[in-house]
């Protein structure tokens, strides 16, 4: 533990953590656009700057380790002014279309501009003017809204390990791009959408069939049903419809999803989707209740087992079952039915 002074108050915090982490640990929120705890510190947006006693300029708290006896000011007038300036600079090079932007309500830039009283981009001059990349099936990229925090690029290379996107050009002309600027569809992108999930603004947006406002959506946390990893996710619900998916932070997925969990949710709303069990009566499938279905299963198992013994059974589970479901399934076969004839399609 080290002793540090934050805004004049003494605290004891863990050593070898960043000033940003230390501040959060004691309940002081510092704005940041480029920081993500899962990624290497980037120190690019400069919103997390603080004043450190004995240091000449501001220091980025995301990439500054605490030391014993350190004294930090996180919200001094100088820091607040600089942060407001930085937000003003960012917003001056950003479309002022919050009224129609889908990200509105979930946008970090919007939140911070509100917090720091930045009403408009006050610098008039050149603004980014790039075509939007709609080439990917699942999401679009609007470089004009991009604030170049680099989170998408870093999540793609550091966590997803795909490296489909990178920075191109320099200075004011820097933009997130694919090799030779040929568009996302021509890149090695696997459409996992993890870049979309970390984008703090409306630059990377999922393509949706519905027009929804962020505040009209309800979130339901669940486990992805596509495979056994157990990725945690949040279904975005509007009315009785699933209108989107966002990754949630779980032990198994560290806030990441793959293309299926992230974007392949429209089957949920499909009219052909089975919502009740079907029982074949008179050569036709008819809708039944769960009780009817379970009773039928139990009856048939008991009947077959009595006639032919447990070895007459074999069970095969789907890769879309979770680990826990697979466990229960083999337990059912081994302990209840009494056979080891149980397998899984992904074992091959």
């Amino acid at each position: 533990m080290v002793n540090i002074k934050i805004n004049g108050i003494d605290y004891q915090v863990e050593d070898n953590i960043s000033v940003l982490e230390a501040c959060r640990a004691v309940g002081i929120e510092i704005p940041t656009l480029c920081n993500d705890d899962r990624l290497q510190p980037h120190a690019a947006c400069r919103l997390c700057i603080v004043e450190v006693e004995g240091k000449r300029g501001f220091e980025a708290s995301c990439s500054l380790k605490v030391w014993d006896g350190m004294a930090v000011e996180t919200h001094s007038p100088r820091v607040m002014k600089a942060r407001a300036d930085i937000l003003d600079l960012l917003f001056s090079n950003h479309p002022e279309d919050c009224l129609t932007c889908e990200k509105s309500g979930d946008c970090k830039l919007q939140d911070y501009c509100f917090e720091y009283g930045v009403e408009k981009g006050s610098y008039v001059g050149e603004k980014k003017d790039y075509p939007v990349d709609y080439s990917n099936h699942f999401y679009s990229y609007d470089p004009n809204k991009c604030i170049l925090c680099g989170r998408c690029v870093r999540v793609c290379s550091e966590l997803q390990c795909t490296g489909a996107i990178g920075l191109e050009g320099r200075g004011f002309s820097t933009k997130v791009s694919t090799p030779f600027d040929m568009g996302l569809a021509q890149s090695t992108c696997v459409s996992c959408g993890n870049c979309v999930a970390v984008c703090p603004v409306g630059a990377l947006m999922p393509k949706r069939k519905e027009k929804v406002r962020y505040w009209d959506m309800e979130k339901v946390k669940t486990t992805c049903s596509y495979c056994g990893v157990g990725c945690q996710m949040e279904l975005l619900i509007k009315g009785d419809k699933v209108v989107g998916v966002e990754p949630a932070d779980g032990k198994a997925n560290n806030g990441l999803l793959c293309v299926k969990g992230r974007f392949a949710y429209s089957f949920v709303n499909h009219p052909d989707r089975l919502k009740t069990p079907l029982i074949k009566r008179n050569g036709r499938f008819e809708e039944a209740t769960w009780d009817e279905a379970y009773n039928l299963i139990v009856d048939r198992i008991n009947g077959i087992k009595a006639d032919s013994g447990p070895e007459a059974f074999a069970g095969l589970t789907s890769a879309r079952c979770t680990n826990e479901e697979n466990y229960i399934f083999q337990k059912l076969f081994r302990a209840v039915i009494g056979t080891n004839n149980v397998d899984h399609c992904a074992r091959l």
Binding site: H42, G57, F58, R170, G171, T174
Partner: protein, 624 residues
Amino acid sequence: MITIQDLNKIKEKTLKKMELRLRAKDEKTDIKERHVLICGGPGCHSANAEGIKMALEEKIKKKDLHKEVKVSLAGCFGLCETGPNIEIYPEGIFYAHVGMDDLDEIVEEHLCNGNIVERLVFEDALEDGKVKHVSDITFYKKQKKIALRNCGIIDYVNLDEYIALDGYQALAKVITEMTQQDIIDMMKEANLRGRGGAGFPAGIKWETAYKYHADQKYVICNADEGDPGAFMDRSILEGDPHSVLEAMAICGYAIGSNQGFIYIRAEYPIAVRRLEMAIEQAKDKGLLGKNILGTDFSFDIELRLGAGAFVCGEGTALMESIEGKRGMPRTKIYRTSHRGLWQKPTIINNVETFANVPAIVQNGVEWFKNIGTEDTPGTKVFALGGKIANTGLVEIPMGLTLREIIFDIGGGIPNGKKFKAVQTGGPSGGCIPEEHLDTPVDFGSLGRLGSIMGSGGMIVLDEDDCMVDIARFFLDFTVDESCGKCTPCREGTKRMLEILERITEGKGTPEDLDRLESLAETITQASLCGLGQTAANPVVSTMKYFREEYEAHVYDKKCPAGSCKELIEYFITDDCTGCTLCARNCPVSCIEGKVRELHVIDQSKCIKCGDCMAVCRFDAVIIR
């Protein structure tokens, strides 16, 4: 592989051959032998120095003098303004602006008959009808050459000549007689401060890397010289490449590294070629590579070429670039002397810093500390440019005043114009006005004036230069060269540039001035790396010393220096004789007037190219 004894033998043998060049100036001689040195520095090279060398050799051969007269190319003489330059020894005669047509006369008169060709002698070397020895020319007299000690003396392709002037003796001494701590202590005591701009003491840096345990350490020479107008590193690499290799090996020994990299910009193809050659020569002789001079110490050097990004001169961006990544500065969580290249302890010093190292080892700490100031011992190489008579490269002891550098060594402002300011330190530096010209130059003093020493660019401005436009020029460079990583630099410098552009176009408002100051503060304080943190310096310093010029642009819509096109008007006064010359030269035909009658410029059509003013023989065209 050679031993120290072999090294000494080469030294002795070669020194004899170089004797003429090194002889004391008043030693009289009547032998016909001569050394002709042709400057092969960047400026003279572009002015066909190699062609001159070949032609000269041919002519000498025709006169059957080739046994007596030795011609070689040497590193930069420093007086780039007057190139191609030639020096003839033992007399020490400096011929300037030598063209192909002049060679016959030099051979016939000087080399055959022993008569100096006064017509070609550099004008400052002529005094009362006498021709001064090159070392007595004012330009050289106040200089003290350490980093450039061999430039202009040795033939840069000849390793033996480097060895003759104590080359590789320092390395031999270090690896056979000194411990790692000894050499580090020596650098610390000498207080050799980094010549790349920041002035960080090299010894302290070396010690940090030395004391950090790791299985691999690296030495990097930062040769990504990028400041507009600065070319001292290039001149050292081209004129004396071995001095840098030797110093890197010494540094490698000090910190315990066996691998060095020179990160050099690809736009320096000649320096790259000469370095490649030098590395090969050194490896052939066993002065680099495995078991140097038969000891246990091994050190290898490889080149890495930069692709022309200014920001790659920043240490951590440079390392990213060597690693094959996009050249962007890293976060400052770790020191590079702990975790640098490939996360291993790395020492990165600039070319000029390294070039000082062997000289300090050879001559000792006391010698070095006696040169320069207490704040910054030693010398600094400056590239003089802009409105100055002797454009070129000078190495001066720290503590000389700006006035001495500009007026004594640099020869003052040409064309009788008035000095206005000197811009030091390139795009990270600032402008220093006349009132501070007597400031002795060192890292601290220039910093206190709101400028920096930087890598040593020194651009002199005269009364015709608009300070707002100068700030705009440097900011334009920074905006282009910002890597785009951090917000204040990427977005902020661009907005400052746009404001300055508006002001120089006469569209600036009083609020713009406040805004410039406020934005400058944020960019300086909040940027990630040195590039952003210093980007506002040209603006801040000009606003501090020349605020009235900014105000004239904003309030009166006038450019006092008569430089900003949108704010000036060319006007023909009554002095016009009606010679029609201006009208005939106007590219847009906007001057009207009959022969022998006053001419008039149609302001609505004028593109303000200034041609009329340039051609007028009666000074009738003025700017107002």
